[in-house]
Symmetry: C2
Subunit: 287 residues, 2 copies
Amino acid sequence: MQYHVNGELVEAGEATVSVEDRGFQYGDAAFETLRAYGGTVFEWAAHRDRLNGTCETLGMPEAVPDDLHDRIRATLDANGLKDAYVRASVTRGVQAGKLTPAAEVDPTVVVVVKPLPRGGVEGTPVWGGPATVRTVESRRTPEAAMPADVKTHNYLGGILARLELRGTDADEALVRDVDGNVAEGATSNVFFIDDGVLRTPGLSGPILSGVTRAVVLDIARDRDIPVETGWYGVEDVRSADEAFLTNTTWEVRPIGSVDGVAVGGGPVTDRIVSAFDRRVEGLYGSV
Amino acid sequence: MQYHVNGELVEAGEATVSVEDRGFQYGDAAFETLRAYGGTVFEWAAHRDRLNGTCETLGMPEAVPDDLHDRIRATLDANGLKDAYVRASVTRGVQAGKLTPAAEVDPTVVVVVKPLPRGGVEGTPVWGGPATVRTVESRRTPEAAMPADVKTHNYLGGILARLELRGTDADEALVRDVDGNVAEGATSNVFFIDDGVLRTPGLSGPILSGVTRAVVLDIARDRDIPVETGWYGVEDVRSADEAFLTNTTWEVRPIGSVDGVAVGGGPVTDRIVSAFDRRVEGLYGSV
């Protein structure tokens, strides 16, 4: 496998960053998880925009290289991959030994790829079955401490949430905000359906604006599935008719149970999965 | 300069970690900033205990190598350094491509050193003058989202605070908790003095339990300086008779002003600085 580090393709085993890189020392870096289908990066513009937004919040608005899309394609090509997981990181690079960031940034840009199964209508999901979800005590960092719409190498919140699942049968955490409202999973957005209405926590809460979340909302609008965003409790998800999680690699994954209470997919989830798969399938003809 | 990476001394320019190291990808790592005086690591036991505590919170209680103190000394020796800044990091290492940490951990251990001026009675502080402090909007992450007593590579909170100082004359941020109480600086603990009483935010708030903070409190007890810990507002610091910041590299640094309001050091600060310097001076005879 070859990765892309600072403009060069390098063997995965030699793909490194300095121990003084701020992305390592402080998690001072933006990243995106992307997915390529048939050689095309899914929702590239949305990911690029969010990456630029994260870098802007981090005070390095020019850090994302103009040719990042080319670097991703070059990395896929070098590994002969058409269906792949892609992680692209842009760090503040190495700077003098002060926490205060210098205005001048020489970013470190890293692209890592892994093979994934084919997606689309004939595809295989990366997950083996519906998610087993448990509510955890660790809360989502409030907006006042960290803007929710950034995706950075400060990812311990999700890790602490997952650590609480140790010794249980759960594979995803249901994370609440500090007021007790449902926020999201450790690596996913949460949706649930009651009486045919699709519900998901709104972006006025500390919710990552997931790219797959936006695609699902777009599909719902297209298909005249009523959508409501707002503030919800864990009980709302547990008692829902259907529930699912979304992220780039999982796509749309039904929730089997929440805290041991069976929920599962259903007709609305199926319609959304089917529309999502068709949208992805379109990419296989496009190259 | 040579650094210590995974048990080996390497040239600084070749001191790297894998782009797949979780310390890089997620900031999934514990660290300590230490200081050596005359070849001796100051307050080693306190730093080691906090590092172990952080690793325990991160679900990798055995990650700190038993010989970390030796690795630090070897790094100082290799560079001929007796007075130095030391940064020791312990990451969860490289694991399979899942956010959920595996139980088995092969940690990445990194020691970075830099020369610092001599400390103690005849020493020179690393700072050029009293701190110019400004209150920032970005808040300290609450305990519910991240335990405050961990010191990790998720350090963007402090970076966002420092970014707010861009374009001002300030060199340290005064960070409040989400309720508006004074918490700490971006990289320092805050103390202030009124009518001879030394005050600092208590550890029941989201405050890093700083090693230098503990030394200062110990000195105050020794010298019969009355101490009060509690919840304070920005106005309490601005209107104080004296105020100072503490951290390992700054030691005890007077606050010149807060939000443009002059504060400064004074007799109690001077007594504490003097006692601190004498404590450090003791290390120069110990090797």
